[in-house]
Subunit: 217 residues, 2 copies
DNA sequence: ACCTGAACACCGTTCAAGT
DNA sequence: ACCTGAACACCGTTCAAGT
């Protein structure tokens, strides 16, 4: 018997906890009823379906991140900060990355878009190009995020899992014929050593450098 | 009773057909046994599990695309061609985008990486930066692809579905307070009119412009 | 109005039994 | 060796029945 009738807020929070603890596959309606000591009806009364629940949980996480907004004099620095904020949030909650990359128009990302758009304006990118540039940047951030999420598997085995996985791929790559795959063969070493966050930032910088060429003259 | 015992190849092809016809949710083991007039054992004998099947189907599609390789004198043009080839393939088979963005180290993408790496070399990008630049570009392409895939829903309602969906989001955006969300409010118009392929190419061009700044001096 | 929980219609996967 | 298909252990979702 439920001690307290769960509000929508409590339900979404419990879902977030399950997702953080066990990854995407850990969120089942059954697990949720057990954790909340309640029945299916109580959940379905506050939530349309499982998708709704997952989306609401993702919105929550993102909203919390963006409130720690970056205010910076230099628009380039601020843009890096915003991108990195989203990266770190998804790094901490991999399932959010998967969800957002499925639904990049969620209200939760509105503030992100808005920030990027304004900063592009500050960088003197003309209006016409701003839309495409913002879209490309968001796509890039979510693309990286989704892959980090996928690589993480079910949320278990945080760091060792990643290292093992990369070592495995690097192993495969280094066994390739260097005549046929010179670049990939060479890249195997880098793959083993690379830092996700650094590589992400390098990508952002490439983007920013490209965007700088769109500057109105 | 099966007229012909299905080989792995036949099974993967049938899976691809189901996915193309009805999207990701249409691939069920049950549907596959019906289409192939066979039992579960016949399938599990040639395939480890459903993930294996999905991955094999995605590999097939990508392999077929990359054989139509682009040979171009200008590395920038060639890079655009390679990126666009992947984009179009995923546009035609949205489920491939979702699968690849989950597993971007599949062998199927090796040739893609290799092409990008070589072309970056041709563009005089120094070795150190090539790895990060190639990763960023691939992430971008797959990021866009995954979102197009998600937006497509279950594979039904190809073009009208997309138009309706974008119109809906644009509607929401244009209703936002222009004081609080000037950029997003403005972007609503662009969203309604924009062409996915054009926007994708614009993003690639931003990338290439950024990469040009990495050129060794 | 709000909640319970048995029941329903699905999944992916296994495995004794057949050929 | 290769395949069959009933059975198993799960899903998400519904809805008559309770309070």
């Amino acid at each position: 018997m439920a001690v307290l009738a769960p509000s929508r807020e409590v339900i979404v929070q419990a879902a977030t906890d399950l997702l953080d603890e066990g990854g995407e596959s850990a969120l089942t309606l059954r697990a949720l009823t057990i954790r909340l000591s309640t029945g299916y009806g109580a959940i379905y009364h506050h939530v349309a379906d499982k998708n709704d629940l997952l989306a609401a949980a993702a919105d929550d996480v993102i909203a919390r991140v963006l409130t720690g907004a970056v205010v910076d004099a230099d628009p380039r620095e601020a843009l890096r900060g915003v991108a990195l904020g989203l990266f770190d949030a998804i790094d901490a909650h991999p399932w959010v990355g998967a969800e957002l990359s499925r639904q990049p128009w969620r209200p939760a990302l509105l503030d992100f878009y808005e920030s990027v758009g304004r900063l592009l304006h500050a960088l003197a990118v003309p209006e016409r190009a701003r839309f495409d540039a913002a879209g490309a940047l968001v796509n890039y951030v979510l693309g990286v995020a989704a892959q980090n999420a996928a690589r993480r598997g079910r949320g278990r085995d945080q760091e060792t899992g990643r290292a093992d996985f990369l070592a495995g791929v690097a192993e495969q790559w280094s066994e390739l014929d260097p005549g046929r795959y010179p670049f990939v063969h060479e890249a195997a070493t880098r793959l083993r050593e690379h830092d996700d966050r650094d590589q992400f930032l390098t990508g952002v910088d490439i983007f920013l450098a490209g965007i700088a060429t769109l500057r109105r003259t």
